[in-house]
C-alpha cells in the first residue's frame, strides 16, 4: 500500500528540456519512475533520456496515458503550465519551482479544488514512494523502503533526517515535501490522514519550521485523530524574530507561529519534539522496537 503514488503512476515532465528538467528526468528514470512523456512548447519531436517530448500537455496525453506531472520552468511560467495540466485532466501536480507569485499560487489551488486534483508544492522537492517511484528532485540513494512516513515543509533538512534514518537502517514508506511557500497545496493534515490509514506506515516524522500555523493545526489534528506515533523536528529555534506583516499577520496567527508555540502545541498532542535532527533516528528506532 502506498499513498498518492505507486510504481504504476504514469508521469509527465513539463519543462523537460531545461537544465533541471533533463537532469532530474534521468534521476527519476534511474529510481524507477514511469515517465511516459515530456512537454516543452516548441521542442516537440525531441527525446530526453529516451523520453519523447511534446509541444503541449494535451498532445502528450493524445499519445500516452498519465495521472501525474512534475513541473520545471521559471516561476513566471508555472501558472500557465499548471493550469494546462489541470485542464488536460491530470490529478497530481508536483510544482518544483520557487518564487512563484502568491496570487498565481492561489489561482492554481482554486482551479485544482474545482478539478479535484492534488497539488504538491510549490517550492517542494516532491514526493517519493520509497523503492517504487519518485516524482521529485530528492537524491535517490537515501530513499529506501521501510516502515516510517515522513512529511516536511523544508527540503534539504528532510534529506538530512531521512539520510540519518537510512544510515541507521530504517527505511520509509512515503516521503512528502509540502513546499516552503506561504501558499502550498498539501498541508501536514492531508498527509497525516493518509499516513494514519496506510497499513505499511508504523510511525510518522514531521519536519516543520517557524512561521505560519500549519504545525499548530497539525497538532490539533493529531490529538483528535491519530493513533500512530509522531515524532517532530522544528527548525528555527535560534532565528531572530521574523518579519511581521502589519497587524493582519498577527491577527491571522493569533500568537501562533513561534518556535515555542509550535513545541507547546505538538507536545500537548503527545508528539515527541526532537532537539536535534540527529536525535530522530534513535527515537524512531525505540518506537519501532517497542511495537
Amino acid at each position: 500500500m502506498s499513498i498518492y503514488i505507486d510504481e504504476n503512476t504514469r508521469v509527465l515532465v513539463q519543462g523537460i528540456t531545461g537544465r533541471q528538467g533533463s537532469f532530474h528526468t534521468g534521476q527519476m528514470l534511474a529510481y524507477g519512475t514511469r515517465l511516459v512523456g515530456g512537454v516543452s512548447p516548441g521542442k516537440g519531436g525531441q527525446e530526453v533520456e529516451g523520453v519523447p517530448v511534446y509541444d503541449s500537455t494535451f498532445e502528450a496525453l493524445e499519445n500516452h496515458e498519465a495521472e501525474a506531472s512534475i513541473l520545471f520552468m521559471p516561476a513566471p511560467f508555472v501558472k500557465d503550465a499548471a493550469m494546462e495540466a489541470l485542464d488536460a485532466g491530470l490529478k497530481l501536480l508536483v510544482l518544483i519551482p520557487e518564487s512563484i507569485p502568491l496570487h498565481d499560487a492561489m489561482e492554481i489551488m482554486a482551479y485544482a479544488r474545482q478539478k479535484n486534483a492534488v497539488i504538491v508544492g510549490p517550492n517542494t522537492f516532491g514526493l517519493v514512494s520509497s523503492g517504487n517511484s519518485k516524482i521529485g528532485i530528492m537524491p535517490n540513494r537515501y530513499f529506501i523502503p521501510g516502515p516510517v512516513g515522513v512529511v516536511s515543509r523544508s527540503g534539504t533538512l528532510c534529506y538530512e533526517i531521512v539520510g540519518h534514518l537510512t544510515e541507521s537502517g530504517i527505511g520509509t514508506t512515503t516521503v512528502v515535501g509540502l513546499g516552503g511557500d506561504r501558499v502550498v497545496g498539501l498541508h501536514f493534515i492531508d498527509v497525516l490522514k493518509k499516513f494514519e490509514e496506510d497499513l505499511d506506515t508504523r510511525a510518522v516524522i514531521m519536519v516543520g519550521e517557524i512561521g505560519g500555523s500549519a504545525e499548530e493545526e497539525a497538532a490539533a489534528h493529531i490529538a483528535a485523530n491519530m493513533d500512530k506515533p509522531v515524532i517532530a523536528y522544528l527548525a528555527g529555534k535560534s532565528a531572530p524574530p521574523g518579519k511581521r506583516m502589519g497587524h493582519a499577520g498577527a491577527i491571522i496567527e493569533r500568537g501562533r507561529g513561534t518556535f515555542e508555540s509550535k513545541v507547546e502545541a505538538l507536545t500537548g498532542a503527545g508528539v515527541k519534539v526532537a532537539d536535534l535532527p540527529t536525535q530522530i533516528a534513535p527515537l524512531i528506532q525505540s518506537i519501532l522496537d517497542k511495537a
Binding site: I137, S154, A239, M245, I251, L276, T278
Partner: protein
C-alpha cells in the same frame, strides 16, 4: 516589499479609494507651508515600522507655526532605528468612528481573506476574535457582493454604512489582486460625515511578483550587505556571532544555526544560497561571506538539486582567486558527492559526512 503610508495612499487614490487631502514634505518649512494651505492638520512620520502613534511619530497642529515645530520634533526622532526622510501632512478629518479593514493571504485556506472590525485604531491586535470578522475569498469567484453583505451582517452593519462597504471593499480587493499585494490594510478606516476614508495605508507587495510591476518604486529595509545578497538572489540575514554559515535550503540553514547554538557557538549570519546554484552564484555567496570577516566558515551542503561538484568547484575557484585563510569546516554529501570530494581533496581540503560533526568542529575552531 512594504510600502510607506504615502505610497500606499497614492495607490489607494489610483483605485478611487478616498484618502485625506495631504502633502508630502521633506523639511519643517514645507510642513508649515502645507498647514497654511490645509488648515488643521495631522503630521505623520513616514517609516515602515508599526506603532508610530504610540512612539510619538504622529502629531496634530492647528497653525503653520505649530506644524513647523511638530515637524522638526518628529524629524529628529528615530523609530526602531529608522529616521524618517519624509513626513505626510494631511488635513484633519472629522472621525465619527475608527474601523478596521484589511485584505491579506490566509496560507492555510490558500485564499485571500478579508478582515473587518468595527473596533479599529491603536489596539486592533487586542480585539476579541468574535469582533474581528474573517471572510476567506475563493479565488475562483473573487469578491462578490453577497460576501460583503455577509461581512456587514456579522459586524452588525446595515443601511448606509453597508452601502458604503459595498462601494469601498471591491476597490480595495481589486487593488490587492491587481498589484499582487500580500497585505492591503487600513487602520483606522475612518467613518466621517462624508463616508469611509482611509486614514492610514499599510500595503505590502509580494516580492516574487515585483517583476510584473515595473512602475512600482523599490523600497528596501535591508542593510548594505543584505542588499548585496538580494542582488545575488541569496537569502541572507546578519546575526551577531562569529561563525559564518552557508547552507542550501532555508530549513537546513535554520537547523544549522540551531545546532551551532546548541553546541555553544554563535552564528554570524543566515545564508541560504538556494537550490541548484551554479558555480558563479556559489562563488559570489562565498565571497560575500568572506567579506564579513568571520572567525570560522561553516559550509553545510546536502545536495539534492544542488550538486556537490559545483559547490566544490566554486570553493576552489574562490580559494585560488581571493585566498581563504580562515579555518573552514566543510560538510558535503548528496548529489555528485564523490566528484565534489575529489575536487576538494586535490586541494587538500577535508570534508565531513555528518552535519553534527561539522558543526561541532566549527564551534571548536571558533573557541
Amino acid at each position: 516589499m512594504k510600502l510607506y503610508e504615502y505610497l500606499g495612499k497614492e495607490l489607494f487614490a489610483r483605485y478611487d479609494i478616498p484618502v485625506p487631502n495631504g502633502r508630502l514634505v521633506e523639511n519643517a518649512e514645507q510642513a508649515g507651508d502645507a498647514a497654511a494651505e490645509l488648515g488643521d492638520v495631522v503630521i505623520k512620520t513616514q517609516v515602515l515600522t508599526g506603532k508610530r502613534g504610540k512612539a510619538g511619530g504622529i502629531a496634530f497642529a492647528s497653525s503653520p507655526e505649530e506644524a513647523k515645530k511638530e515637524a522638526s520634533r518628529i524629524f529628529d526622532m528615530s523609530f526602531s532605528g529608522y529616521a524618517a526622510e519624509k513626513l505626510l501632512v494631511e488635513e484633519k478629518i472629522a472621525i465619527k468612528q475608527e474601523l478596521y479593514l484589511a485584505v491579506t493571504i490566509d496560507g492555510s485556506a490558500q485564499r485571500p481573506v478579508v478582515l473587518a472590525s468595527l473596533d479599529g485604531g491603536m489596539d486592533v491586535e487586542e480585539v476579541p476574535e468574535e469582533r474581528m470578522i474573517r471572510w476567506p475569498v475563493d479565488a475562483a469567484i473573487g469578491l462578490q457582493p453577497f460576501m460583503i453583505r455577509e461581512i456587514c451582517r456579522r459586524m452588525g452593519v446595515s443601511g448606509d454604512l453597508q452601502k458604503e462597504f459595498l462601494q469601498f471593499l471591491p476597490k480595495l480587493y481589486r487593488m490587492f489582486k491587481e498589484l499582487d499585494a500580500e497585505l492591503a490594510e487600513i487602520n483606522p478606516l475612518a467613518l466621517t460625515p462624508q463616508g469611509l476614508v482611509a486614514a492610514d495605508a499599510k500595503v505590502t507587495i509580494d516580492d516574487d511578483a515585483l517583476y510584473r510591476h515595473r512602475d512600482l518604486p523599490r523600497i528596501s529595509e535591508k542593510t548594505d550587505l543584505e542588499k548585496k545578497a538580494e542582488e545575488l538572489d541569496l537569502a541572507y540575514v546578519e546575526l551577531e556571532g562569529d561563525i559564518a554559515v552557508m547552507a542550501n535550503g532555508a530549513g537546513i540553514t535554520m537547523a544549522t544555526l540551531d545546532m551551532v547554538q546548541h553546541y555553544g557557538g554563535e552564528p554570524a549570519n543566515f545564508l541560504d544560497f538556494g537550490g541548484g546554484a551554479d558555480v558563479e552564484k556559489t562563488s559570489k555567496s562565498l565571497e560575500l561571506l568572506l567579506g564579513t570577516d568571520p572567525r570560522v566558515l561553516l559550509i553545510n551542503i546536502f545536495g539534492g538539486i544542488t550538486r556537490c561538484d559545483v559547490v566544490a568547484e566554486a570553493f576552489v575557484r574562490v580559494k585560488e582567486s581571493k585566498g581563504i585563510d580562515l579555518p573552514v569546516s566543510f560538510r558535503l554529501v548528496g548529489t555528485n558527492e564523490e566528484e565534489g570530494r575529489a575536487i576538494l581533496e586535490k586541494e587538500g581540503i577535508k570534508t565531513f559526512n555528518a552535519m553534527d560533526e561539522a558543526v561541532r568542529h566549527a564551534v571548536e575552531l571558533s573557541a
